[in-house]
Every structure is written in C-alpha cells, then in structure tokens.
Subunit: 146 residues, 2 copies
DNA sequence: CAGAATGTTGGACAATATGCCCAGCCCTAA
DNA sequence: TTAGGGCTGGGCATATTGTCCAACATTCTG
C-alpha cells in the first residue's frame, strides 16, 4: 500500500478557494487581480489544487425549493476487485450523481442520486449497474424529509 | 408590494442545471454541445436562470476535511412495527443527525450523521440504536468525497 | 557556502470562449 | 391572420485560456 501525502493548502491557496467559493466561475484573470498575484500563479495553483484533490470540482448553487419535484436516492455500491478508481471515474461522469463517497463496511461507495423523474431515475440506475466493476448495489429512494 | 411569480424551469433548464451541478465551470459551448442545442440558447437560459434566482451562483466543491475534521456517515434504519412516527420524533432530537428521510425497500429511514470526532460518533450510534422502535441499522462511514 | 530546485512574475502567442447582434424559422396565443 | 416568444446558425469584437518563455527570488540540500 502506498501512503499518499495530503497536500496542505497554504495561505494563497486558501484565498483562492475562498474567492471560488463565492464565485466558482470567476475568471483566472479576475482572481489574479483580486488576489494581487500573476495570472499564471493562480492558474498553476488551481491546477495543483485539482490534481491533489483538495478541490473536487465546480458546481452551481440552486434555489432551495428547486428539488421539490425531483427524485432523490442514496445508492450503496459494491465494487469488484481493485477497480474502484476506474468505477469512480466513470460514476463522476453522471450528472445525476450529486455526491460520491468511499466508505467502509459492506459497501465500497455511497452515491447521492438526483434525477428529474422516475423514468430518468430508472435510466440512471440501469446505467450505473452496467458500469464495469460495479458488482452489487442497493438503492434507497428518499421519500420525504422528516 | 409586487408578487413575483416564481420561474418554473422546464426540461431544458433542468438539464442545464444537472450538467452545471456536475461541472460548474463547463463552457457554454460544451454545454450546448452536450445538450444538443445552440450556444445562444444555453446562454439565454443561463441568464434567465440567474435573473430569476433559480440559480444562486457558482461555487467550488472542496474536500471534506478542508474545513474541519468531522465524521460523516449515512445510517440505514429499520423500524419495528408501526412506531415510525415516534422514532422520527426521537431521532430529530439528535443534533448530529443532519438529515432524516423516509425510504422504501429494505430500510425505513436514512439518516445523515455528522459528528466532530470518532468517539462522539460512536456515542451517537449507540444512542440511536437504543431508541425504542429501532429494530436494526447499518451504518456506512463516508471516508472521502471522490 | 554553492548549486539545485521550486515558485513567481510579466510578457508573448494561438486557440477558445464570451457577449452581443442579426435574419430566418417554428410555434402559440390573441 | 398577426404578434410575440423561443430556437437556430451565423458573424464579429472582445475576453479568457492554455502554453510557452526568460528573469528573478526563495528555499532546500549537500
């Protein structure tokens, strides 16, 4: 087994992240301007933050009540063999998978799924189960928040 | 006072949002390509989604342990008999339970748990299992966001 | 200490992406 | 039928990105 040293963001990294949290689509030029550093610096920092996994990606903030009429579920996934990394890469391609976590115990991955309709949801489930390396899965539809 | 009619996103809006959730920095051209519509369409839709407040803004997804080292888990709960309502009431009293959903299938409830330490987490698990009406449970520690 | 490695800077450049405009087309409501 | 709204494909100027580079400062290392 290999020990992966976690990248520790420094002051500048944190300022970049703070700005991106407020505006995830800010251009590198604007960020560099706001932070008082060269554009290339922001660019390389951002690359590194992504490579090291400190930043997982970019997303959009949606109004709270947006998901009212959507299908929400949690899917537990068992991965066969050592293909976890590949499976993760594949699953990250599903826009319906809102969050993806590794886990311990009976399962290997926990996915948060959101689809726009039951048929859409059904399609996603089928597709996920067809992903190479997905050995088994168990899905719980979240019916209501209580 | 003026009544603001809430803008109702249609199918295309929702597909745009789904993609942006997966990649908030995707270019309009790529989105248009992926969705099979003209770039101008995506551009005007996105403008409208922002103007109407359906979309609140863009942000970055940061690795879980960036802010604090907290323990995050999802707990599947089976309730015995017809005591679901009572169990829910009890569980809602746990500050560590961030979200609680009813569900179908093998389990009755899905709880999102966040604790500040492993020992704290352990305490919560024990207490939940002691709640009257909780017949069975299965907890998956979420190790990392991927 | 000297040299190497790393990071930042300012600048350059081509390739992309954006913002804005247009005319034409289709559909729906009046 | 007419008007309005939305989508399309296109054009065009500007902004942004990805990628280099040489120069300089700082840190690490033997």
């Amino acid at each position: 087994m290999q020990t992966i040293a976690k990248y520790i963001p420094d002051e500048l990294d944190r300022r970049i992240i703070a700005h991106l949290r407020a505006d995830g689509r800010a251009s590198l030029a604007k960020l560099a301007d706001a932070l008082g550093v060269a554009r290339g610096t922001v660019q390389s920092r951002l690359d590194r933050l992504m490579e090291t996994g400190t930043l997982l990606g970019f997303t959009v903030r949606v109004r709270d009540d947006y998901d009212a009429q959507s299908v929400h579920a949690v899917m537990m996934i068992e991965v066969s063999g050592k293909s976890t990394t590949q499976v993760i890469r594949k699953l990250r391609g599903f826009p319906e998978i809102q969050a993806l976590h590794t886990t311990n115990g009976n399962w290997d991955l926990v996915a948060n799924i959101r689809a726009t309709s039951l048929s859409d949801f059904d399609r996603v489930l089928r597709e996920v189960r067809l992903v190479d390396g997905v050995a088994n899965s168990e899905t719980s539809l979240l019916l209501s928040s209580v």
